[in-house]
Subunit: 246 residues, 2 copies
């Protein structure tokens, strides 16, 4: 058996998320359907770096699978792209040792969140960024973001649906990129809890629009209570940008 | 009655084209449904600068309608955007004289056609540009484009489904913009026949990939026969960019 690591991208707008669920169209189901065809109707299990929710996009999701097929590792990208629907694409494939695991070997991740601020909704961005046509003070958002960086217990920034015991994570960087109407917030960290990026974005936006003070973020973190943090920002602005391995 | 001119944009990927047809989801139907709601269930007829096919996008389609409602003309954009689905947006509205007609007053149009040349299909561009992963010699395409500029009988570049008698049109400019993997071809002219831009693009691409010579374009034009010109390029790359009025 050979272990193949795949770097994939997908437009999340027509998927019910990454992970397979009965009946729903998911990224995992489409990937495993493509592998099933290539393996002459033998099921092949895939493992991803983590799930993404319905509507969330990926530029660099990482998945691995084991195969008995002998094929140059880089050929797998072409073989899979030949079977996949047009909203998923395999960017790169490579052979890895059996010690590599797409989920357990992760050392860090980068997520990006896109907001656009035109007066009216843009049909070409509607499922690719969050439309927010109100003023945002980005310098206040940067001040607030400083409180989120470093190692913290992120219970206040984690969906109550999470089953993770340990909610301590390290956010290594939060940076802001503005270009015209677009605002992109980039988050790097050793790991992220369920909905953590979207709750951080919802909180930063409340600081940006003046309904919270930057210092309130420290208080919300310290309270370790999801009910203290503002609403989760919508899925359409979120991109799993890159997964890092040692 | 007041005549309102609207500049609209739409993502054509989920529409069966601009013009209303029984049962299909079209841009015109969605616009007239929004107007019907605003006019308390009285039907309002819209007139566009021209149709666009299924899958074709618009950044600056122009539409007019007549209304008995008294409202500041620029307010119409907000009222309509409140009722329209997320893949259509009204950019601007203004009151015009009854001599203005979105179709008959047109003095020119600009269309843009987008091609991208990555090795594998990009899920985020799949319905917004034409994926062409083969070499294209853009300098040859520019040479060929020179033969299309000016006043010509464009019978060879018009769908046989067209019911227009007079096939003489003037193309005032064709220009090429390359950035990374992207190639955009911009066409300006006094008017365009049915499928004309997409047949011109199909022809320019055959020159670009070496299967036609630039001079062949002059021959194809002179033959005035649709069967002489190459295939129509796919809808997803085409944008009605701007409509000009005197």
């Amino acid at each position: 058996m050979k272990r193949i690591k795949c770097e994939i991208m997908y437009d999340g707008s027509r998927f019910s998320g990454y992970q397979s669920q009965p009946k729903d169209r998911t990224v995992q189901r489409e990937l495993e359907k493509a592998l099933w065809k290539i393996h002459k109707k033998v099921p092949v299990k895939t493992h991803a770096s983590g799930r993404t929710d319905a509507g969330v996009h990926a530029m660099g999701q990482v998945v691995h699978f084991d195969t008995p097929i002998t094929m140059l590792a880089e050929r797998w990208a072409r073989a899979l792209n030949g079977e996949l629907p047009s909203d998923i694409s395999v960017k790169r494939t490579e052979e890895v040792s059996e010690k590599f695991h797409a989920r357990y070997s992760v050392s860090g991740k980068e997520y990006r969140y896109r907001i656009y601020r035109t007066r009216y909704r843009d049909p070409f961005r509607t499922v690719y960024a969050y439309h927010y046509p109100y003023p945002l003070d980005v310098s206040r958002m940067k001040e607030a973001a400083a409180y989120l960086m470093g190692e913290h217990d992120f219970t206040s920034f984690c969906s109550t649906k999470s089953d993770k015991e340990n909610k301590v994570r390290t956010v290594t960087d939060i940076s802001f990129f503005e270009q015209g109407d677009d605002l992109e917030i980039r988050f790097k960290g050793t790991g992220f809890l369920y909905n953590m990026v979207r709750i951080m974005v919802g909180t930063l936006m409340k600081v940006g629009n003046g309904r919270l003070e930057p210092e309130d973020v420290a208080r919300i973190l310290a309270q370790r209570d999801r009910n203290r943090a503002p609403q989760t920002a919508p899925a359409e602005g979120l991109y799993l940008w890159e997964v890092f391995y040692e």
